[in-house]
């Protein structure tokens, strides 16, 4: 290891963006388009759009184990194995090797990482939902945790701003619980989904709608201008999309930022700390270590956007110690690393349907149905706080059904070459309430191969989640039964840890009071105003809808504020 003392000037930019995933992509786009010279520091390797998606066009037989993880992969991707899918051969190259990047668990946490340019924007579920007005008031109303310092109206124009650029497919439902976005045309429901939608509305008054997804169903001129094309319905999204049809850093925000000529992207740079100048009372830049060469290098800027995702962003601040901040930059409240939230899932029901044997579908829709929250909403009152939504879908059985039914030979084979009966499933996504004792810390002595302290998790679901899951399981079965499905089976897998939803949030929450929160209403660190944080770390509560759209909106909003403040010379 050696210290590179380059001329400070060469390493000076207007803004530093730490991380290049969903929120980092938005930070680089918005800041460069508003005139700033930006350097984006990404800890992982570069993954080039299209040419970097090494498995995107492969057929099943081109994978050695036809997709399944082998024993060696199972050992190396030990956290990924807990999901049941991320260690598969088709997309494992985009997930982190847990053996090489270990973490520790006092109480379990399923930490699924993707360290490379684009981060998990290449791997996300692409389900895209606005929060509702109640979501931002929930903590205050329930008298738990701290209140959000912003409301829906503060974010609404920014939701519109990011939706238009992103491209969100969906149908207008006019529901206060799930505000509509600016939509591209919706994807279609299949026969059974249409049937269940109709029956559940008729018999239970609950809405089932098509999932809202960040896929281009009808590219607009500004999408095409970036080289993005319409969805081809391959449903191989996690390998990377060679058509640029779903929103990712590579397909959308990074090319937009590059067009300005003001973006410098530097892969392989692990940010180890934010440097703080006690005299100026602000951050001056960041220190990095190259993941391959171990070279230490500093970058300087007027403002810093932390977009490394909830756990890494907060750990970088924890690791940024000075005499002003002995417990980590911005950690006067001791809230850094606390209140880890996720969405709890692996609970729901599925069943089979007799009928529609003369109906099928064409194409692999990378989307399903969505049931918006109805519990603890309006006049409904349960013995737990908050609520849940469902994602699900219907389809006809494939050849896999042959494993558990008796038979073999010619007739057996021929039967498996035809589609099986219809089944439909609904899987819950529940809101997790913030709890200070759900946290991570940095290990006092154990270091990773770059000399950085290893993350230690100590988190678990609580009573509120456990109670909610009973409803999540039973309600799903009730809806399917109401729609006439048979053999309805419920499941409630309680073996999963927080983190399994891959929606980590809350480790540097926004709030009104610096004594109880890390970030203010403008996404600035309360006590160090030129450091902004707009990834999952910022979340004060979790809602039950997928979070990425809200990170995007928070980032675009903070970027505008930051540039305005710079112009006013307030930063």
């Amino acid at each position: 290891m050696y210290l590179n003392i380059d001329a400070q000037k060469d390493q000076t930019y207007d803004a530093i963006v730490v991380g290049s995933g969903i929120s980092g992509g938005w930070a680089m786009k918005e800041l460069t388009e508003r005139g700033l010279r930006v350097v984006c520091l990404e800890r992982g390797r570069d993954v080039k759009h299209i040419e970097g998606y090494e498995t995107a066009m492969k057929a099943p037989w081109e994978f050695q184990h036809r997709g399944r993880p082998d024993n060696m992969a199972a050992e190396e991707y030990w956290a990924g194995m807990r999901t049941g899918y991320t260690a598969n051969e088709e997309h494992r190259y985009l997930f982190e090797n847990d053996k090489q990047n270990p973490y520790l668990e006092t109480r379990g946490f399923d930490w699924i990482r993707a360290y490379h340019v684009g981060g998990r924007s290449l791997l996300w579920g692409r389900q895209t939902y606005r929060w509702n007005e109640e979501d931002f008031m929930a903590n205050a109303k329930d008298g738990i945790s701290v209140d959000w310092p912003i409301r829906y109206k503060d974010l609404a124009p920014w939701y519109s701003h990011v939706e238009k650029f992103t491209g969100v497919s969906g149908s207008k439902d006019n529901l206060s619980v799930l505000p509509d976005s600016d939509f591209l045309p919706a994807m279609e429901l299949n026969c059974l989904e249409k049937h269940v939608k109709g029956e559940v509305m008729k018999k239970m008054g609950r809405t089932i709608t098509i999932g809202r997804v960040a896929h281009l169903t009808k590219p607009q001129t500004w999408h095409s201008a970036l080289g993005r094309a319409a969805c081809q319905y391959r449903n191989m999204c996690m390998r990377g999309c060679p058509f640029g049809a779903y929103f990712s850093t590579q397909s959308a925000t990074m090319p937009a930022a590059m067009k300005t000529g003001r973006l410098t992207l530097v892969p392989n740079k692990i940010v180890t700390e934010v440097m703080y100048d006690e005299k100026k009372g602000k951050a001056t830049g960041v220190r990095t270590i190259d993941q391959n060469t171990m070279e230490v290098k500093e970058y300087y800027a007027k403002i810093i956007f932390m977009n490394a995702s909830a756990i890494p962003s907060a750990s970088i601040l924890m690791n940024s110690k000075s005499s002003r901040f002995p417990n980590g930059l911005g950690n006067d409240s001791d809230q850094l690393g606390r209140n880890i939230m996720d969405h709890h899932l692996a609970v729901g029901a599925s069943g089979s349907f007799d009928g529609y044997g003369d109906q099928y579908y064409f194409g692999r829709r990378p989307n399903g149905v969505y049931v918006p929250r109805y519990r603890n909403w309006g006049n409904d009152k349960r013995d737990y706080l908050r609520g849940f939504g469902y994602q699900g879908g219907a389809g006809r059985g494939g050849w896999g059904r042959g494993t558990s039914i008796p038979g073999f030979g010619a007739a057996f084979k021929e039967s498996l070459t035809e589609p099986g009966g219809w089944t439909m499933g609904l899987g819950g996504f529940g809101e997790v309430i913030p709890d200070e004792s759900n946290r991570f810390t940095l290990h006092p002595t154990q270091k990773d191969k770059w000399g950085l302290p290893v993350v230690v998790f100590d988190a678990a679901y609580g009573e509120n989640e456990r109670k909610m899951r009973i409803d999540m399981m039973n309600d799903a079965a009730e809806m399917l039964e109401a729609a006439g499905l048979k053999n309805v089976n419920t499941y409630n897998d309680t073996s999963k840890n927080p983190g399994i939803g891959i929606h980590e949030m809350g480790t540097a929450r926004m709030g009104k009071d610096p004594k109880t929160s890390v970030l203010n209403a403008n996404s600035q660190v309360h006590s160090c105003k030129n450091v902004f944080m707009t990834d999952g770390a910022a979340m004060t509560s979790a809602s039950c809808v997928n979070p990425s759209l809200t990170y995007m909106a928070l980032t675009a909003r903070a970027a505008k504020f930051a540039v305005d403040e710079l112009k006013k010379k307030n930063l």
């Binding site: 996300w124 692409r126 279609e188």
Partner: protein, 208 residues
Amino acid sequence: MNRREALSRVALLMGGTLSAPTLMAFGNNPATLNTSADFVLNDAQRALVSEIADIIIPRTSTPGAKDAKVGPFIELMLKDCYRAQEQQNFVEGLADADARAMKVHNKKFLETTPAEQTALLTQIEKDTMELMKNANVKQVKVGDNVDKEVVEGKKLKGTPFWRLMKELTLFGYFTSEEGATKALNYVPIPGKYEGCIPYKKGDKAYAL
């Protein structure tokens, strides 16, 4: 990832088609898996595996398991993706097939007639289902597209031979180029999605 998944969000979005082969799970902590990379079959065992696979999926108007080289695939999968217990069960299962043939017909399995082979495998399947039933193997959903089988008690030592043989034959065949493109409708780039189209008996299911 927000991703999908077990719970797999990914699987959820595939429309819950339950097409993923079920995997027996006797605890999924890889650290506790006893694995052996030294697994290898001899020529006689290889011939037997290929033959049984071809009896499960014979050549009809479309290619069969032998055409799709399912035998070597099964060996590779057992070596790379399964535990020592399953490897042992598999080898013992092959020996058992020969022993059963010897007992009834005084011949090795491969030397018996097709009708005798069918009868032997039918009995093996029946015995396996009974064995699994007695061990209280329950199919449990852990997600909309992911089934897991849990075994209560210690009555069953790993996945039984026939179950491995059948699952790997179907998996190997329907994901092979021959199986996916000839026995199923392989559409790598659909280009569009239509939610409801007419289906005629005899039309092939999609390979993906």
